[in-house]
Point group: C2
Chain length 444, copies 2
């Protein structure tokens, strides 16, 4: 059995590793067009901070380990330029040797990731405009930072990545200036969470300009309808789109958000072709249908399942799906969400209630902080729809309790009955989640 | 409606507060025999460390706030000496005014807590032998520590409290010496967890003597069958027993561990007498019966429910129960458990499997540590029975995910499907719990 995998970052390497784990003798070829083996993309912003920490530290494994320990035929600088599903083969260009060859497959895994959206405005193809999607992008940005020491950086867009960059740049004494097209930031978060992020931006005196229509970039100046902004470099993070050109050209069917359409077994419409990660759809459990939420853990889970489904192709398993859990750090705050957000609840015409509480994170002992919890739940039944948190101290792993509760379709009544760990070093005697649940109960 | 509450620490004050919250006009009298209002007992070991932090900082509220803001008639130094259930009245001694009086009740809440077991051996009634149960105990211990600066302290027993004291004393440059009667420590923890605690004791070069039969204490020397030990003070923590004398004398029925027997509504066998907290039984969900596990959160939850059941006595609710969750800090380690332990599983003849994993707590970024997770689950179905964790960094709130999983009777298959929060700052891309679940799946 021979499997060819296009793309070797998260989903691709996970699929490859799982195949070899479950069937030692299987042939697995990974074709990665970049010069990087699988890496932790979510760690890129934080690598910038450490001048002497090579970006290669973000590699998940060495090429040697992938090849020797895992037995995977992993080929760097090998770009697939065509898929022929009828002959079950791909056309590959080896960029190092400048040669083209074909590779047959029994199974193909399409794991090409996504790419940043670009601003198609004058000047935004300049060499001092960056995106922040790949390790190569990180190398470029890091070089500029440590070679030119820009006093300030214009960040176009205010999504997670750019907010993480705000935090990192600020701590490097580089002034971030955020230009956002929309009226506000973090649209999928509740106002109660967003206001805390805005408060922190204010506290740090960071420029956030909203409702900004960019006209062009001229030299170091970004011209907008609301004024000109000057900076030593520009980073554009205005969303992503799945890499699907190769797949589409081969007759592949696309789905939500233009991503590769997959069934619950992660099969595409092309025979024996699976898709995983940032290029593919992701089943959202609460919606009962596919969505598009490109994040590392889902890519890894999907890759692993595909590996398993290829080996056990007579007893394939369905992808379990996601609950849209996400988290990012913003200065001393952790900002996290799980489950459905208000935009989705409005979209579904759900009769939901929202409550929020502000609580200490620990008993009356040094080292704690405060946090805010937002719960979204069904008015009639108390069924939890979603939860969001922001605060100091332990937030991300507290959110995981809500992610678990949502996975099990718990109500706020059940949430209030949880026996959560207590010592004043770790929580108040009424855990923040119990306080939130007790408040929610009154609204059902 | 008039409610009298005996004991005003955790369960007692919770009950009082809930009654006033739900029925503003209700009369609530709390009779507390000590001079302290409700306090965070679990914080006592850590208070020792801070010389200038008064132990009164552990008070949950001021007497003034309890009386004025909550409208509770809270009486300090008022000891109940008898309950007459047929006349529905209690006999009270006001220790300050040295007068005795009777108080009628419509409802009585028995929340007298527990007391430390004592060593009935020669010398263990000396003034330099301490227990560590009340704020008054803390005052005594703290005085000795800062007045006499003992070079070392003998800790008899190696339960949570004494292990917390080991940590605190060590950090105060006082040498702890542990004398344990049993063959080892932490019997309810898996060997895989216990060994890590023992390793830490070794690393810190702390004397732990097991299988120790104490003979007597003579002056500063504790004589045992295996040798003599000398120390500036002795702290005995060899378990607790519920305070039930008053209740028994009134014809009250006792249950598990000699605690006040309660039904699911937390009623005792005496008419209109409820019981909460460390003096009462606690319903263990997984066992489907009452157990005895005196901890702060359960006392608070029980008190709150009793308050509610007294106000809504025509629509009482059952106490939700506990999952035996507990956590303590031990140097840089957090040690936590939830669900059934192996002793209980052996006792129930369950066909269980145990797996453990060692994982990093975060992605490859500074600030993380390592942790060990032990999962206990049913061989045939993968149903989670229990989980234990030990490690640096965020452990307690990760355990809460397991506590939630156990509350919802999840299997290890379901655990592996959770969508837990990921950023390299907070977790590896495969969360430790997912790694543990994936390992467990292979054993079902």
């Amino acid at each position: 059995m021979k499997t060819v995998i296009i793309g070797g970052i998260a989903g691709g390497l996970s699929a490859a590793s799982q195949i070899k784990r479950e069937e030692h003798g299987a042939q697995v070829i990974v074709l990665e067009k970049s010069g990087d083996v699988s890496y932790a993309a979510c760690g890129m912003p934080y690598n910038l901070f450490y001048k002497d920490k090579p970006v290669e530290d973000l590699h998940a494994l060495s090429l040697d380990a992938i090849r020797k320990e895992r037995g995977i035929d992993y080929r760097l600088y090998h770009e697939v330029v065509a898929i022929d599903p009828s002959r079950k083969e791909v056309t590959v260009v080896d960029r190092e040797l400048s040669r083209e060859y074909r590779e047959k497959y029994d199974y193909l895994v399409y794991a090409t990731g996504n790419q940043p959206n670009r601003l198609s405005l004058p000047g935004f193809d300049d060499a001092d405009v960056f995106h922040f999607k790949t390790l190569d992008d990180t190398r470029l940005v890091k070089n500029i930072i440590y070679e030119k020491f820009p006093a300030n950086v214009i960040l176009v867009g205010s999504g997670y990545t750019n907010l993480e960059l705000v935090d990192v740049l600020y701590n490097m004494k580089i002034t971030p200036i955020i230009l956002e097209k929309a009226a506000t930031i973090l649209p999928s978060f509740a106002e109660e969470i967003r206001s805390k992020v805005l408060e922190k931006l204010g506290e740090k005196r960071i420029q956030l300009h909203t409702n900004v229509d960019i006209i062009e970039k001229k030299g170091t100046v970004v011209r907008t309808a609301s004024g000109d902004f000057e900076a030593g470099m520009v980073v554009v993070s205005i969303g992503v789109r799945p890499n699907t050109a190769l797949f589409s050209a081969a007759g592949g069917e696309l789905g939500v958000g233009g991503a590769v359409k997959v069934d619950r077994f992660l099969r595409t419409n092309l025979l024996d072709v699976f898709a995983a990660g940032d290029c593919a759809e992701h089943y959202v459990r609460q919606l009962g249908r596919n969505g598009y939420m490109p994040l590392g853990p889902v890519a890894n889970k999907q890759g692993r399942l595909i590996g398993s489904n290829i080996v056990h192709n007579n007893a394939m398993k369905e992808f379990c799906g996601i609950d849209q859990t996400a988290v990012f750090k913003f200065f001393d705050l952790t900002v996290a969400t799980t489950g459905l957000n208000e935009l989705q609840l409005h979209g579904n015409s759900a009769n939901y209630v929202k409550v929020h509480v502000d609580t200490p994170t620990r008993g009356a002992f040094p080292g704690g902080g405060t946090m805010r919890i937002v719960l979204l739940f069904e008015k009639e039944t108390g069924l939890l729809f979603g939860g969001q948190m922001i605060g100091q101290d332990v937030v991300a792993k507290r959110l995981d309790v809500l992610a678990t509760a949502i996975y099990k379709q718990m109500t706020v009544f059940e949430l209030a009955e949880l026996d959560l760990s207590y010592s004043p070093l770790y929580a108040p005697v009424w855990d923040p989640l119990l306080i939130a649940a007790n408040k929610a109960i009154k609204e059902v």
